[in-house]
Amino acid sequence: MHATIMPDMDMGMMHHSCPVEQPSETAPDSSGLLRCAAVFTMPSATSWTLGVTLHDHEYDSIATLRLRIPVVDGYGVRTARSANGTTYVFTLLASPWKVGMNDIRFAVHSTTDGFSFTPVPDAQLTFEPSMPSMGHGSMGNVQPSHVGNGWFAGRVNYSMTGDWRIDLIVDPMDGATYTAQYDFLVHR
């Protein structure tokens, strides 16, 4: 058996999807779950649906269902559009940030039609943490490198609690660079 998911946002005049990571397993894990991921690119209480297709290879049967899911606002997703019409999605994986060194993960996906999103493994990413209210950043950060499937991993050092900002610069090797900004709170 395998499963696929297909998020869809109904914006009235148009539909679009978002980056996904399909379940890689063919059987549920010990929790009874097939694990997958989607990067919802905008919040909505009612407009997102998640199409799920289950294919039982043994009986060659297919089941589909559509789930309406609310998506709350977050800080981790930014999009940019290139001159040639490609849309990029830059995702900062939200973490329970803590003071000190933290793992930080970004994802870069691209799409030209709004439905098929592909990882951009060759992108070059650099980020800079800062505290806008303090006017300083931090040291000891490790710039991200590609770890697979469009994900980039690095390390970030938050020297204190408070409002932090990550400025991300992405060079997806299309001749342009893009910036994204993420604001969030680091707790004690």
Binding site: V99, G100, G135, H136, M139, S159, M160, G162, D163
Partner: protein, 668 residues
């Protein structure tokens, strides 16, 4: 006189039959200023002119330079260009570590002048008893209980016109043959002070209370136990030179000492001690415009808390023969230190922040010191000593470890450090009244917990932010001091010259500076190569008549970082003092001139500073002792209301303007 000097601070109060911890070294000191005649050692000469004075005044009066951040309070000792941890400052041999990361509270802030009997100063690198530094040491000996004395009460009250500084001291002591008790309470309080331009300096007032209780029990003629306690509370202490003020600083200092005289030539003392300091400061009393416009972290309040706790063991043994004195000391301490800062933005839409500046630093140190004083021949003594310390250092706060690991990638935070110092000297009596000496010393000091683990510490004078580095090498110094003294009944002249080569000079490394727009540069502490310090001190006393004496001191220091071709910071220029003391045992007067030349050799790289104009001030005092039990004193300090600041006054905070003070001391 900054070679090795022990200064008897108070003559009121008895001495004890068993030796103080300092006694062994007082014996070997080349100069011990304990004199009996009224002019040279009158009943108030070694007290500051100001009857409202603090330990700061005492240190200044006796030739030390202080880095000043507040109104006559909490000055940081410097001597011969050595400062901070380059000078080992102890109270009765006890280590008391400042809790404030902004240096608001050197350990001398937690004792009162009335708690002390002697101040022992050494600057030639030969005092290794209570720790390793770069050659400078100051040890204050606390007052001890009095045996076989009837109960005696002393009340000392004084007030001063400038800042309406008031001081009250109540002291009670007494004892039987076997039990002695002493209790003393001091209250000092001041409003904002006025400088020589008649300008009131905001946030320069303070209130300080100090309680000392000490009890002694002589088990027999050769065994004594002593339990001592000091509680000190400072509140609302303004630091005009800094960006914050102390809201409250509490110190609790306790010690239990056992002294044993095994024989006429062998004695020991063992002291177990502990102290804890809790220091909070904030900028709530500062005007809003200052908060909004300051260079460091504007637009927010930033209350800070610092705590240190120290536990220690100090075991001293001295063995003497007719020609030899050996002193062996085991010295162990354990320090725990924390410091944190809140940041509360004026803009209420911004989330308040919290930062750790010292994340539970733990420093365990054990040291062994040995000193030998041997009379090689008649009039020729050889003195030598050595000390070795081993220290385990770490920080325990995991989040803090994580933060500072990011700032110094790959630098281990758990460090075991070793340090060793050694000295040797020859002391030769050329004639009955002429002595010369030469001391060669190699000293090391381990970096402090602030230098290793401090994070985001602000230096308001240099306007830099400093971060520690855990792998700093020991700072070391090779020094040579030569001196001589000529003493006759009515004249004494002494002087010393020194040269000190400092290796691995520790300071905020200019090469590491990270400059961000609108923020002070951030530097990491580093070993800044070699520096040279050289200078001299000279002092003379001439008793011109039984009722008239002159006392003069002159000192100068020159320092240069060879690595940065930069003058060392916070070096006072050529400084002089001339005092004329008149009177007898009943009435005494004094006029004191003190001043310094312009300091234009200033650091521009290590800790940027500006030049300081020359200055001179005059102080006057008259003291009357109509009865043995009554002293009445009046003084005028800074008579000509001179507006000036010392070069070591942070951010050029001016000295106090003219002040009249009057005091009364009753000994019941």
């Amino acid at each position: 006189m900054l070679c090795t000097v022990t200064i008897l601070i108070l003559t009121a109060g008895g001495t004890d039959s068993l030796p103080a911890q300092d006694t062994a070294r007082v014996y070997v000191a080349p100069e011990v200023v304990v004199q009996a005649d009224a002019v040279r050692q009158p009943w108030r000469t070694d007290r500051p002119v100001s009857s409202t004075g603090s330990v700061d005044d005492l240190m200044r009066c006796n030739g030390l330079t202080l880095i000043q951040r507040a109104n006559g309070f909490a000055g940081e000792v410097t001597m011969m260009g050595l400062r901070g941890a380059q000078v080992n400052s102890t109270i009765d041999g006890m280590k008391i570590h400042a809790a404030c990361v902004d240096k608001m509270d050197p350990n001398t802030a937690y004792v009162e002048i009335d708690n002390l009997t002697t101040m022992n100063i050494n600057a030639d690198g030969s005092d290794l008893r209570y720790g390793q530094a770069l050659g400078g040491s100051v040890n204050f000996t606390l007052r001890r209980p009095e045996y076989t004395k009837p109960v005696r009460t002393l009340i000392d009250a004084a007030a001063e016109s400038n800042a309406f500084l008031r001081r009250l001291r109540i002291d009670a002591s007494g004892g039987t043959e076997r039990v002695g008790l002493r209790a003393g309470y001091t209250l000092r309080t001041a409003s904002d002070m006025r400088d020589g331009n008649d300008v009131t300096i905001p946030t320069s007032g303070y209130t300080k209370q100090n309680l000392q209780v000490v009890g002694g029990w002589k088990l027999n003629d050769s065994n004594e136990f002593q339990l001592s306690f000091i509680g000190d509370r400072a509140t609302d202490v303004g630091y005009p030179a800094l960006i914050m003020d102390t809201r409250k600083a509490d110190a609790v200092i306790g010690a239990l000492t056992w002294r044993r005289q095994w024989s006429s030539s062998l004695r020991t003392s063992a002291k177990v001690y502990a102290n804890a300091i809790d220091h909070t400061m904030d900028d709530y009393d500062r005007p809003l415009t200052q908060i909004e416009t300051r260079a460091f972290m504007p637009n927010m309040y930033m209350p800070m808390t610092g705590t240190t706790s120290v536990g220690g063991l100090l075991v001293e043994t001295s063995i003497s023969t007719s020609s030899t004195l050996i002193n062996i000391i085991v010295d162990a301490t354990y320090l725990a230190a924390n410091a944190t800062m809140e940041m509360i933005p004026l803009d209420t839409t911004v989330t308040p922040m919290f930062m750790t500046n010292i994340g539970d630093a733990r420093i365990a140190t054990a040291g062994l010191s040995a000193a030998l004083d041997h009379e090689v021949a008649d009039g020729l003594s050889f003195r030598a000593g050595a000390r070795a310390d081993v220290s385990s250092r770490t920080v325990r706060d995991e989040a803090f470890r994580s933060v500072i690991s990011g700032y110094n990638p790959g630098v281990p935070l758990d460090v075991t450090a070793l340090a060793g110092s050694v000295h040797g000297g020859l002391y030769h009596e050329l004639a009955d009244d002429l002595d010369v000496w030469a001391v060669l010393a190699y000293n090391q000091r381990m970096p402090t917990h602030l230098e290793m683990y401090g994070f985001w510490l602000y230096d308001p004078q240099a306007n830099i932010i400093m971060n520690g580095r855990a792998d700093l090498a020991n700072e070391n110094a090779m020094s040579m001091t030569v001196g001589g003294s000529y003493r006759q009944d009515d004249l004494s002249i002494s002087g010393s010259l020194y040269v000190r080569r400092v290796g691995n000079y520790i300071g905020p490394d200019p090469a590491t500076a990270i400059v961000q727009q609108g923020q002070p540069p951030v530097r990491t502490m580093g070993n800044l190569g070699t520096a040279m310090l050289t200078g001299f001190t000279a002092t003379a006393f001439h008793s011109m008549a039984s009722w008239f004496g002159l006392h003069a001191t002159l000192r100068g220091v020159w320092g240069q970082s060879l690595a940065f071709d930069d003058p060392l910071p916070l070096l006072d220029p050529l400084t002089a003092m001339l005092r004329a003391v008149v009177g007898d045992a009943t009435i005494q007067g004094e006029v004191a001139f003190s001043g310094a030349l312009r300091q234009s050799r200033t650091s521009s790289a290590i800790l940027p500073e500006d030049t300081t104009p020359a200055w001179m001030r005059v102080d006057l005092l008259i003291a009357w002792r109509p009865l043995a039990a009554l002293r009445i004193q009046a003084a005028c300090t800074n008579v000509f209301d001179t507006f000036y600041h010392e070069h070591t006054s942070i951010n050029n905070m001016p000295a106090r303007g003219r002040s009249f003070n009057a005091g009364l001391r009753v000994d019941l």
